[in-house]
């Protein structure tokens, strides 16, 4: 059983920033993350893999907190009043009792179903990058990167740098929307510099706008994808297709605690505090907005949770600037309505339970879908099909029960008076 002042859940940029500032302010901080190292998704692999200046700066700062981090742990359940977190690692279960919590649970990629999307070889954009970073050989492989968002560019650049043959990037956003965003970049010199660097990395890879994948082909394994562009439809041979349509916030733990939501994200006040007085939230889970916004929100949450309000307030200006950029980003990459017509009636929307689009259309709510078609009843508990159904047919997901992630049944019986070590 662990006691601490502040538990930070998630060691991505927001979580790292919150932990660092909270610790600097004198709080005892514990950081919980389900990956082997800090960095979250965007800085996956931590120091071993990150070369950008911003990433290295924060990873370096985080070293002073790192010793209090529990990695490879899954927070499966949480309670308020008093705060209590139930978490499991591969060989043990633990309970953490913090005074305050900072939720920095980030976001996951948004997948939209299309014919053939379940073929082995079709992955997410961040997904392919993550698996490549964890050892998947990509040198010489033909890869199509598609979907939406700046992540497509960053991932394509990474893949190319590591020897992959990135055939093209297909961005569903229109030329007009992206032109507006480019103007916004001009207002942020730092961003422009980053974009310039990105341009150099991407030389030679066609960046096609108004373009998306309509079908993936293969016999048990991906062989090619069909793309629809502004003026034509054609097929590209590829070994892997990295396809994802932006990000969707991870708010399950917040919902379990009882935090009020603002649409699909956790509602927070100017100090990044949720509707529960000792629970804060920062980063993508309080609104998709990118790294810079996540960092400053994390700093504000860390200071605020540690009682350092003036220090938090000093950052409001920086947050406002980052938020403006984030707004421009989200507006530029908004998903177009044609993407709702991608799935065929027989296309699976729920991959865990193989529920087709046609079956989903025969029911009237996500709850009815769960109970009558099993959609969302599989191990992912709606984390993949929920956002897709939200986009396709406008359903809101419903109230959440523990465990937030599948957990060992033994974990759910954990009694803190005896440590449970199941590596028997």
């Amino acid at each position: 059983m662990m006691g601490c002042d502040i538990a930070v859940i998630g060691a991505g940029p927001a979580g790292m920033a919150a932990a660092v500032r909270a610790q600097e302010s004198g709080a005892r901080v514990a950081v919980l993350d389900d990956n082997p190292t800090a960095g979250g998704q965007i800085w996956r692999g931590g120091e071993r893999t990150q070369t950008g200046a911003l990433a290295r700066r924060w990873l370096e700062k985080f070293k002073s907190v790192d010793q209090f981090a529990i990695t490879n742990c899954s927070v499966v359940s949480a309670e308020v009043d008093p705060l209590k977190l139930l978490l499991e690692t591969s060989d043990r279960t633990e309970i953490v009792r913090p005074q305050k919590i900072v939720l920095a649970t980030g976001a996951r990629e948004m997948f939209l179903p299309f014919p053939g999307w379940t073929l082995p070889g079709v992955m997410g954009v961040g997904g392919l990058q993550a698996i490549a970073k964890s050892g998947l050989p990509i040198e010489g492989k033909k890869i199509v990167v598609a979907g939406s968002g700046p992540l497509l560019l960053a991932v394509a650049a990474h893949l190319k740098r590591h020897g992959a043959q990135v055939k093209l990037i297909a961005e569903q956003a229109s030329r007009g929307a992206l032109a507006g965003f480019a103007l916004q970049l001009l207002r942020s010199p730092g961003k422009l510099f980053q974009a310039g660097g990105l341009q150099l990395s991407l030389m030679g890879i066609p960046y096609l706008q108004d373009c998306w994948v309509t079908e993936a082909h293969g016999d048990g394994q991906l062989k090619s994808v069909t793309l629809r562009g502004a003026s034509k439809t054609w097929t590209e041979e590829c070994d892997y297709a990295a396809v994802a349509y932006g990000l969707y916030p991870n708010t399950e733990l917040a919902a379990l605690l009882g935090c009020k939501m603002f649409g699909a994200v956790v509602a927070v006040n100017e100090l990044q505090r949720t509707s529960i007085s000792n629970v804060y939230c920062a980063g993508e889970s309080s609104g998709i907005g990118g790294v810079d916004l996540a960092l400053v929100e994390g700093e504000i949450a860390g200071y605020a949770a540690a009682g350092q309000e003036p220090a938090a307030r000093k950052l409001f200006g920086a947050r406002k600037r980052a938020q403006a950029f984030a707004n421009a980003l989200n507006s530029a990459f908004a998903l177009r309505s044609e993407l709702r017509t991608l799935p065929r009636p027989e296309t699976f929307v729920c991959r865990c339970e193989d529920v087709t689009f046609k079956r989903l259309q025969s029911v009237s709510s996500f709850r009815a879908a769960k109970l009558h078609t099993r959609c969302g009843m599989g191990p992912c508990q709606g984390k993949v099909c929920g956002p897709a159904a939200d986009f396709l047919v406008g359903w809101r997901t419903e109230s959440i029960r523990p465990p937030v992630f599948p957990a060992r049944l033994g974990t759910l019986t954990f009694d803190e008076t005896e440590q449970q070590d199941i590596a028997k």
Binding site: S77, E79, V80, D81, A254, A255, G258, C259, K260, M261, S275, I276, S364, S365, F366, R367, A368, L371, H372, T373, R374, M377, G378, P379, Q381, R396, E398, S399, I400, R401, P402, P403, P406, A407, R408, L409, G410, L412, T413, F414, D415, I422
Partner: protein, 405 residues
């Protein structure tokens, strides 16, 4: 969007009991409307519980109702669609010591006398039947005619049989008032009905305050897929000692194999302090309001759909005592539900006291799925004023409600 608005019968509640009643009435030629306050058929207790189709022997009336209903389920089973997940896996009552084994023998005699197929298993046979049960158990009673199903889809099927007369279903509308001429909805609309059937489970007291039906909370857990790990519906006989009584909190080991290979684990029973209906266990919409949960009062906890970590832990620990391998297996979801419990453990089937044309079909506690079909048949018999295959009197509301008035 309901036209015309005049029916022979309005059934309030589209759980499995309401669906079964509607099906019987429609098959008899009546024009039936089912009115459901949520937007899902079979979304309340029907969705929350184990779809165990069992014969039980706590009392003669309970036996009569469950065995009659099981016959009806068996007749219906060939027509059930695949998503109703009907699985004739049988039940196995597990005895951990000699006292419980004597109960096995008593049940064997009871059921044999009444021509229910049962078989006594000794320790070795029990192990062969269920290898993942721990060693050291004494034996068990196999009831091979028992089966399981997935109730929300079974309920949906009952309301939508393509070859049967149509039942009209009105979703998302709550009945707020009953009268001799029909019902009134929460939007003010009036539906005219020859008679009304109240099948709203533990919400029944809202519309008929004089009846005594209280919510009895239960917890369940479902695992990831482990095909073949459990083969029968398993129930412990230890409840004899741990008192699955009518008053206190209790847990008992129950494990059910689903056709998917997932294992459904239960069971728990808690009474809340309030007679009010606690609300649908899985309400639509976004996260619940940020109410502060009072953990000092277990009683108030039992009124909410919230998972009670202590009860869940006890329930799972009990399960590990019978099937130790469960401890390392993956649980993907937990939830709660509310059974409709009456003081004497028998459902209320028949005319509602104080009404000439309102009928009750509620109070089924943990046997709602099992006895839904028989309930529908009995209700039809009552409406048509004809004899039933079994004596109806034990389920009649009038005497029992008068006792508690």
């Amino acid at each position: 969007m309901v036209t015309p608005r005049s029916y022979d019968c309005v059934v309030v509640g589209a759980g499995i009991v309401g669906a079964a009643c509607a099906r019987e009435l429609a098959n008899a030629g009546l024009k039936v409307l089912v009115c459901e306050k949520t937007d899902v058929i079979g979304g309340g207790a029907t969705a929350a519980g184990m779809g165990h189709l069992a014969v039980m022997d706590d009392s003669e009336p309970q036996f009569a109702l469950t065995s009659f209903s099981q016959r009806l389920w068996r007749e219906l089973s060939p027509q059930l669609p695949p998503d109703a997940e009907y699985l004739p896996c049988g039940s196995l009552w597990v005895a951990a010591d000699e006292e419980e084994f004597q109960e096995v023998e008593r049940k064997y005699r009871f059921y044999t006398e009444r021509r229910i197929p049962v078989e006594i298993l000794d320790a070795q046979q029990l192990h062969e039947a269920e290898p993942n049960l721990r060693g050291g158990l004494v034996g068990g009673l196999l009831m091979s005619a028992d089966s399981v199903c997935y109730p929300p889809c079974a309920a949906k099927y009952l309301t939508e049989q393509p070859d049967s007369p149509a039942i009209e279903i009105l979703l998302g509308k709550k009945v707020v008032q009953m009268s001799e001429s029909g019902v009134k909805l929460d939007d003010g609309a009036l539906l005219s009905a020859g008679f009304t059937v109240l099948a709203t489970g533990c919400a029944a007291a809202e519309l008929a305050p004089e009846i005594e039906v209280r919510p009895r909370k239960g917890h369940l857990v479902i695992t990831d897929r482990y095909p073949g790990f459990v083969r029968h519906q398993l129930i412990e006989l230890g409840y004899l000692k741990s008192a699955h009584s009518t008053s206190s909190d209790s847990i008992a080991f129950n494990a059910q194999p689903r056709i998917t290979g997932q294992i459904l684990l239960g069971s728990s029973r808690q009474f809340g302090t309030s007679k009010q209906q606690p609300g649908n266990a899985l309400r639509d919409g976004s996260a619940r309001a940020d109410e502060v949960i009072d953990q000092t009062s277990l009683g108030s906890r039992a009124d909410t759909p919230q998972i009670d970590a202590h009860i869940l832990a006890r329930m799972l620990q009990r399960a590990f005592e019978y099937m130790p391998a469960l401890e390392r297996m993956s649980g993907i979801r937990t939830w709660t539900g509310f059974r409709a419990a009456t003081p004497d453990k028998l459902p209320l089937i028949g005319l509602c006291p104080g009404y000439k044309n309102v009928y009750l079909a509620t109070g089924h506690e943990g046997l709602g799925i099992s006895t839904s079909l028989a309930t529908g048949r009995l209700l039809l018999d009552i409406v048509l004023d004809r004899d039933s295959a079994i004596a109806r009197e034990p389920y009649s509301p009038d005497k029992r409600c008068a006792l508690h008035a």
